[in-house]
Symmetry: C2
Subunit: 376 residues, 2 copies
């Protein structure tokens, strides 16, 4: 299967939704991918089951604060260099590029890398969403080493990191990425086709495309939020979903610190009730609380979209007064196991709340209305 | 030529002197080297001119704040790993180990590395002293790339850094070293035998040995400072030397910050005059000022020794009330060229004073007496 350049708009929109506020602005990624495709051609998208068990894969991604990614994008040579350094260190050539996260800009970077390196792209990733840290990925949770891990920058400086644990690699790469300008190219999680099949979240590139298309179709029909929710309910991973809140941004605290975009956003209800939702983020949204009660919590997805167009709004684009719907979505089941929650659950982000699947959390009486009910 | 384990005491003492306050406590290095020699045998010390032009060399050193190096030494496996990673990245085996600096602990690390890896050790280095940063080395000044640069730690994590400039590598490695505990093993400046002959400071391992022996002989004869000065005057690089000051430590400010030991030490004259010397350091001593006038300045060597035993005193061992002689020594000529001063001169350390060779600086009327004159 091949994507078209036109598909990239839908993939990008779907990926921005799955980015849950983080993952970097997909617009930047789409420009990078489009440019690469125009120069090198569109890569083949292969289903995970069609990858040979002994194929050598690696991931390619951007890492850094999304607030910086939008200003300091990949130059292309840094992407090639990351793959070349990985091949050099492994002592064998890479057979296909595997997305590490489907959320945001990192849905596009692998397309760019696959196009530039003339390699197929695997229709899968390690999250089915976005997460801020390197170890927060199904590959790591289920035993694939994140190292050797290659970091490159637009000055074509490179690092190869080889550590005992993914968390150690994360700590090292984070300080290096800050020193390299808060935005770098990363190649990691080199693995066999067999390990990919065992540990990846399958089919997520196609899922991002279909989510993006659902929003586009909904706009055409004047009902994008409804179309989005209805489509999500048909997907394998994201079927438990609901509009958590409809409100406008009344408080926003967002800092680029420790190499992350960290802060919270407060929304006040549009229905003139005194209901308030506060969403906390570290690049991605971590927990959504309505008047103090948890309505959705990581690793489940908390997505903010424009209340009219359903356009996903990344953290760095949040503005005072914006009208937003907050949508909660179930995470892929591989992220909800006890071993996964140890790595990507609330405690991994320093939160005290236990993980409760969104389908088991109480709904606000007002926001629990079907999307149709809150549609104007 | 082979050193003996007994020689290590003299090499260590000479290297501590050439470390100009930095370079890490040679005692730690000597313990590491002794242990390695007892287990693996003493490596061959080869003269630079006896190394084949097409031999593949690399340096091995510890990097970090000397205040931390004394507490967190190499474990041995980290040293082997650094050499193995370098070989892997270069795609060829290393033929000999080259010291990067002769000052302090890094006179010993290469002995340890050569013993463990069963490789010869080259009698040369890139400084003829110690400096705090990776780019401050004759290899870099005269065109040898410091990268690929391997960093390892005692948990056997590794980084391979490949950058356009040595300063960029320094910035990256410094933040990584802090993250890895402020003390790491470094392998860098891989080069051919021909490049080593062209760029290295030759014979410095032997020179450290002879300086250490001169101090030991002087102690035997009751006159170690005199013996040290007289010996230095016979050496090829260190012949311009003088006792700058004799005093006791009356003020000491020493912080471990940005991965360095940074601060200054003030000495008051023992002769009941109001003369005061202030010595500023960044790991190594940078400038010695007597009542505000420069008496010696980097890259010339500023060495503090115990006023009775001539034992070199590293920055981390400085104590209030200590009686010290400050000795100024000419740097090897390759460090005094305009291209070298751009990298290791006063401005490279943020100082405003111009470099003036010690032999052209005025002497204090009191301290200018010959060493014999200030000997008790």
């Amino acid at each position: 299967m091949k994507l078209s350049i036109e598909d990239l708009v839908d993939v990008g929109r779907g990926a921005a939704f799955l980015g849950t506020g983080g993952g970097g602005d997909p617009y930047v990624g789409r420009m990078l991918a489009t440019h690469a495709i125009q120069e090198f051609g569109m890569p083949e998208l292969v289903a995970p089951e069609d990858v040979a068990d002994d194929a050598q894969l690696c991931t390619v991604a951007m890492l850094g604060a999304p607030t910086v990614l939008t200003e300091k994008a990949a130059c292309g040579d840094d992407v090639d260099l990351a793959v070349r350094r990985m091949e050099k260190y492994l002592g064998r050539s890479i057979d296909a590029i595997l997305p590490v996260e489907i959320g945001g800009v990192n849905s596009m970077l692998p397309i760019m890398a696959a196009a530039r390196c003339d390699l197929p792209l695997v229709d899968a990733d390690g999250m089915g969403r976005a997460f801020p840290e390197i170890q927060m990925v199904s590959f790591n949770i289920y035993g694939v080493s994140c190292t050797p891990l290659v970091v490159t920058d637009d000055h074509l400086n490179s690092l190869v990191v080889d550590t005992g644990t993914a968390k150690r690699a994360e700590d090292l790469v984070r300080v290096a990425s800050i020193e390299m300008g808060c935005s770098v190219i990363l190649s990691s999680y080199s693995m066999s086709g067999a390990d990919m099949k065992r540990t990846a979240v399958h089919g997520t590139m196609s899922l991002a495309l279909e989510i993006g298309r659902a929003i586009a179709r909904g706009r055409h029909n004047g009902n994008p939020i409804d179309a989005l929710i209805r489509h999500l309910r048909t997907t394998p991973y994201y079927s438990e979903c609901r509009v958590l809140f409809t409100g406008k941004v009344t408080d926003l605290r967002r800092e680029t610190t420790r190499g992350f975009a960290i802060g919270h956003c407060r929304l006040s209800a549009l229905d003139s009730s005194d209901r308030v939702m506060e969403v906390t983020f570290q690049n991605e949204h971590l927990v959504a609380r309505e008047n103090g009660e948890v309505r959705a919590i990581v690793p489940d997805l908390i997505c903010m979209v424009d209340s009219e167009t359903a356009e996903p709004i990344p953290v760095e684009a949040l503005k005072y007064g914006q009208r937003i719907r907050v949508i909660g979505v179930s995470a892929p089941p591989v992220l909800r196991t006890p071993e996964a929650l140890a790595v990507v659950g609330p405690q991994a982000f320093g939160l005290e709340d236990a993980f409760v699947p969104i389908e088991n959390l109480p709904e606000s009486s007002t926001s629990s209305a079907s999307p149709r009910g809150t549609q104007k």
